[in-house]
C-alpha cells in the first residue's frame, strides 16, 4: 500500500507497510531508516523501527527494519514480509532477499563493496549470474539505482544513501514534501542541498515505477 492511500482515513485500518534497509556499516543506512520512520510519524501512522548499534556497525552487514501501520506490534519484521527491500550495496541486498514479500519491491544500488573476507581469500564476491539466479528464486525484479555515480555527479558521493531514499520514496508513492522536510531534520545545513539534490535524483530515477505514482 502506498503512503498516499495510507493517509486517507478509509484505508487507514489496513495500513501495514514494512521496509527493510540493508547495507554496509558506514553507508548511512541507519540515517535513511530514521528518515523513513519520521516520515511515517508525519503521516500520522504508528511507527516502529529496529536496528543495531555498536560493533556490527564497523563495516559489517547492517540491517534496519521500519514499519508503518495503524497499530504496529513488533519492530522486527519476518522474512517474506517486507513491502520494500532496499539494498544499499549489492551483496547485502542479495543476502537479505528472503525478507522480501511476494509482492514486495526490490530497490538495489549497483554499488559493490568487497568485504575483507573476500580480499583474504574467503570466498568470491557474487557475479551477475548468481545475482540473476537469486532474484529469480525470490521472484523479484530489482529496480537498479546507480546511487554512488549519481551522488558523485552531484558533487557529494557520500550522499548516495539519499539517492536510494529518493528511489524508495518514489516507489512508495506520493509527494516529496514530507520526505524533504524529514531529511532537513537530521542532515547538517552545510550538506543539506547536496542531500536534497541526491534525494530528488533518486526520486526522478524511479519516478513512475511505484504503485502510488500517478
Amino acid at each position: 500500500m502506498s503512503y498516499l492511500e495510507a493517509c486517507t482515513g478509509s484505508a487507514k485500518a489496513q495500513v501495514d507497510v514494512r521496509f527493510c534497509l540493508v547495507g554496509v556499516g558506514g553507508q548511512g543506512v541507519l540515517l535513511a531508516a530514521d528518515i523513513v520512520a519520521h516520515v511515517g510519524v508525519a503521516l500520522g501512522l504508528d511507527v516502529k523501527k529496529a536496528e543495531v548499534h555498536g560493533m556490527s556497525q564497523r563495516g559489517g552487514s547492517v540491517v534496519s527494519h521500519v514499519r508503518w501501520g495503524t497499530r504496529v506490534y513488533s519492530p522486527l519484521i519476518e522474512k517474506g514480509t517486507a513491502s520494500y527491500l532496499v539494498g544499499f550495496e549489492r551483496l547485502e541486498g542479495l543476502r537479505h532477499l528472503a525478507m522480501l514479500a511476494e509482492d514486495g519491491r526490490l530497490i538495489m544500488s549497483n554499488h559493490r563493496i568487497v568485504p575483507v573476507t573476500v580480499t583474504c581469500g574467503g570466498g568470491a564476491y557474487p557475479g551477475e549470474e548468481i545475482e540473476r539466479r537469486l532474484f529469480r528464486a525470490a521472484g523479484a525484479e530489482p529496480l537498479w539505482v546507480p546511487s554512488v555515480s549519481t551522488a558523485r555527479a552531484l558533487g557529494m558521493a557520500r550522499a548516495h544513501n539519499m539517492v536510494l531514499l529518493g528511489a524508495l520514496a518514489a516507489c512508495a508513492g506520493g509527494v516529496e514534501a514530507p520526505w524533504e522536510a524529514e531529511i532537513a531534520q537530521p542532515v547538517p545545513i552545510g550538506s543539506l542541498e547536496h542531500n536534497l539534490a541526491a534525494f530528488r535524483a533518486g526520486w526522478a530515477h524511479l519516478s513512475g515505477r511505484g504503485e502510488g505514482a500517478e
Binding site: V24, G25, G26, D34, A37, V41, D46, K48, K49, A50, E51, V52, H53, G54, M55, S56, Q57, R58, G59, G60, S61, V66, V72, Y73, S74, P75, L76, I77, E78, K79, G80, L91, E92, L94, R95, L97, A98, I113, V114, P115, V116, T117, V118, T119, C120, G122, G123, A124, P126, R133, L134, A137, A138, V148, R152, G155, A157, R158, H160, H194
Partner: protein, 580 residues
C-alpha cells in the same frame, strides 16, 4: 531524578547521552560500572533519586555493589537500567540480567515498547521508594535500539538544594559489617515477600483475555512477537518479570487449556511458574540462546502445533547454494589500531586482548589478538602468561577507556609482582566502540565541561612502569621498533599508541583518499595484509604477473597512508576520486 551515572555499553549507551541534554540532572560517565553504581547509591543515600545505567556484562562489574545496596536500601529511589544483548550484537556473552534479581533480591521491570521504556522508569522509582529497594529496569537491543511513538508527561524537577536534608547517619542501615548485615538480611527477605504480594496488584502485570484454548505468559519485547504471531491468544504480560505475580499466573492458567511461556534468553518466568506448581511449556518450544524474533516465536508455535508450518522459500535454498561471502565487522579504514596490529603480526607476538573496537584485530589477515575475555582481562592474562614462564613473551593490548575501566589495577599488579609484561595502550582519546563517549583521557565530561585530561603515560609511570614510550600508530616503522624494544626488556613496559579515532570529527575533516597507480602496482598483495576495507583486488585490471592489482575505494579510504608505507613499489599516492 537528580544523579545518573554509567559506563557506555551497547545497547545501554544512549540512556545517559539523552539524559545529559536535560537540565537539572547531573550525569556522568564513570570509569566503570561499579564506580557508576556506587555514585548512584551515594546520591540515593543522600536523599536524591538516582539512576545507574549499564549493559548486562557491566552489571557483573557492578555486582558487588548491587548486593550491598539490596541489603541497605536507600533514602531515595534508586533505579538500575540494565540493557541485555540477546543475540550478541556487540558483547562477549548473552546473559540474562534477571538472574541477578533473584540472586541479589530486587524487583525487575521490563518495558515492551518505547512508551513503557519511559513510563516504567517512573514506576521503578515509585516502587523503589515504596519498598526501600533498588529496582532494575531491564532493556534489550529491541527496546533500546528501536524507535516508537512516546507520549510525554509534564516534567517534574527535583526540589531545591536549600530544602535538602543532611546526610543521614544511620549505621544500623548503612554500615554493612557482619553484625549489622546479619540483621538486614531478614528485612530484605521480608521486603521481597511484600513485593511478591504487591505484584498481583500491579497494573503492568496485565491479563488480556482472548481465547480460552491458549494462554501465554510473556514479557518485554517478546510480548510484541506473541501479539504478532498469536493474535488470538490470551496473554499475561508481566511488566514486572521478577518477582512473578503468582495469583495472576494462576488466574490465567485456570482459564486456558494450554499455557505457554515465551521469554527471551533464560527460563526465569518459566521456572517461577513451575515452582508455583502450574504446568506450562516454554524452553521446550522456544530457544534459550539467541535473540527472539517474530520468526523464532513463529517457529516455536509451529513446533507446538499452534500455527501452520511455512514453506521455506526457494530464496533460502538458492542463497545457501550461492555461498555468499560473510561480511563481519572490520577495523575501519584509517583505524589507528591497524598500525599496531600490523606490527604485532610482523613480530608474531602472542597477544591478550580486551573489549572494544580493537577486538576486531583478531580477524584475518591481521590475526593479532589471541584471547579476549571481558573488560580489563587482557593485562591480567598477560601477567599470568609471564608467570607461567613458558618462554614466550606475551603482550597485552588494551584501549584507553578499558585501561581506565579496569586495566590500571592489573598493570599495577604486574609492576608490583615484578612480571615482565608489555602493555600496548591503543589510545584514541575516546570510547570509540559505543560511539565516542568521553572518558578520563578526553579532557571533557558528559555534561560538556572541560576537565583534567588523564595522561596514560603519566599514569603508567606513577604505577611504577619505568619504560613508557608513546608512538603514532600511523608510523608503521616506529611502532614496530617500539614494540621490539619493549618486549626485549626484562621488566614491565608500556607502549602508548596515540592517535584520534578515524571516525572522530577532526580525523574525518582531513580525509584525503589515496589511489593505486594500476600501471605501477605489481599485485604483490602486501597492502591487503593490512585488512583495510577500502582496499580490494580489482578483477578488471591484471598486472604483468597475471595477478589482480589492487584498487582503493575512494568512498571508504581515509587517506591514513599505511598501505602506501607497505607498498614496495610506491604505487599508492594521493588523488582518490571522492574528496567530499
Amino acid at each position: 531524578m537528580r544523579v545518573a551515572a554509567g559506563y557506555p555499553g551497547t545497547p545501554s549507551t544512549e540512556v545517559l547521552e539523552t539524559l545529559a541534554s536535560m537540565d537539572g540532572v547531573y550525569t556522568e560517565w564513570s570509569p566503570n560500572e561499579k564506580v557508576a553504581l556506587d555514585v548512584a547509591i551515594g546520591a540515593a543515600y543522600a536523599g536524591r533519586r538516582s539512576l545507574a545505567v549499564m549493559k548486562h556484562v557491566g552489571l557483573n562489574v557492578a555486582a558487588d555493589s548491587l548486593f550491598y545496596v539490596c541489603m541497605t536500601g536507600m533514602q531515595a529511589g534508586l533505579v538500575i537500567i540494565v540493557a541485555d544483548d540477546p543475540g550478541l550484537h556487540s558483547s562477549q556473552g548473552e546473559q540474562d540480567s534477571r538472574r541477578y534479581c533473584k540472586f541479589a533480591r530486587l524487583p525487575c521491570l521490563e518495558p515492551s515498547d518505547s512508551q513503557e521504556a519511559k513510563s516504567m522508569v517512573g514506576l521503578a522509582f515509585d516502587l523503589s521508594e515504596r519498598f526501600d529497594t533498588p529496582v532494575m529496569v531491564r532493556s534489550g537491543t529491541r527496546i533500546s535500539h528501536s524507535f516508537g511513538l512516546v507520549e510525554m508527561g509534564a516534567r517534574v524537577c527535583c526540589e531545591d538544594d536549600d530544602d535538602a536534608d543532611p546526610f543521614v547517619r544511620n549505621p544500623q542501615k548503612y554500615v554493612m559489617v557482619p553484625g549489622v548485615a546479619r540483621r538486614r538480611h531478614p528485612i530484605m527477605e521480608e521486603r521481597m515477600e511484600a513485593i511478591t504480594a504487591f505484584a498481583d496488584a500491579l497494573g503492568v502485570n496485565r491479563i488480556e483475555r482472548r481465547s480460552s484454548a491458549l494462554g501465554v505468559v510473556t514479557h518485554g519485547i517478546a510480548y510484541q512477537y506473541v501479539r504478532e504471531v498469536l493474535p488470538e491468544a490470551s496473554i499475561l504480560r508481566l511488566g514486572m518479570s521478577y518477582p512473578v505475580a503468582a495469583e495472576r499466573v494462576r488466574s490465567l492458567a485456570a482459564d486456558v487449556d494450554r499455557l505457554l511461556v515465551v521469554e527471551e534468553l533464560d527460563p526465569v518466568i518459566e521456572e517461577e511458574i513451575r515452582l508455583l506448581g502450574v504446568a506450562c511449556e516454554g524452553k521446550s518450544l522456544f530457544p534459550i540462546s539467541g535473540e527472539l524474533s517474530p520468526q523464532s516465536v513463529r517457529e516455536g508455535c509451529v513446533k507446538a502445533g499452534l500455527v501452520p508450518a511455512q514453506a521455506d522459500g526457494m530464496v533460502a535454498e538458492a542463497a545457501a547454494s550461492a555461498a555468499l561471502p560473510m561480511r563481519p565487522p572490520a577495523l575501519c579504514p584509517g583505524c589507528p589500531h591497524r598500525g599496531v596490529y600490523y606490527a604485532i603480526h610482523q613480530l608474531d607476538l602472542a597477544v591478550n586482548g580486551d573489549s572494544g573496537c580493537y577486538a576486531l584485530g583478531f580477524m584475518p589477515p591481521l590475526s593479532a589478538v589471541h584471547s579476549i575475555g571481558c573488560m580489563g582481562a587482557g593485562v591480567g592474562q598477560a601477567h599470568g602468561v609471564a608467570a607461567a614462564a613458558i618462554g614466550e613473551r606475551s603482550v597485552a593490548v588494551i584501549g584507553d577507556s578499558t585501561f581506565f575501566h579496569s586495566g590500571m589495577p592489573a598493570l599495577l599488579n604486574a609492576v608490583y609482582n615484578r612480571q615482565a609484561v608489555t602493555v600496548v595502550v591503543l589510545d584514541n582519546r575516546t570510547t570509540a566502540m559505543t560511539g565516542h563517549q568521553e572518558n578520563p583521557g578526553s579532557g571533557s565530561t558528559l555534561m560538556g565541561e572541560t576537565t583534567v585530561e588523564a595522561d596514560i603515560g603519566d599514569i603508567a609511570r606513577a604505577l611504577g612502569v619505568r619504560h613508557v614510550e608513546t608512538v603514532d600508530p600511523y608510523d608503521l616503522r616506529v611502532v614496530e621498533s617500539a614494540l621490539r624494544d619493549a618486549v626485549g626488556r626484562d621488566e614491565a613496559s608500556v607502549v602508548v599508541a596515540r592517535r584520534a579515532c578515524a571516525l572522530s570529527p577532526e580525523a574525518r575533516a582531513s580525509r584525503l583518499p589515496l589511489a593505486v597507480d594500476a600501471g605501477m602496482c605489481v599485485a604483490c598483495g602486501q597492502c591487503l595484509q593490512l585488512g583495510c576495507p577500502a582496499l580490494c583486488s580489482n578483477a578488471s585490471v591484471l598486472a604483468s604477473n597475471g595477478r589482480e592489482t589492487t584498487r582503493i575505494d575512494a568512498l571508504l579510504c581515509s587517506g591514513c597512508g599505511m598501505c602506501a608505507q607497505v607498498c614496495p613499489v610506491d604505487a599508492i599516492r594521493p588523488g582518490g576520486e571522492d574528496s567530499q
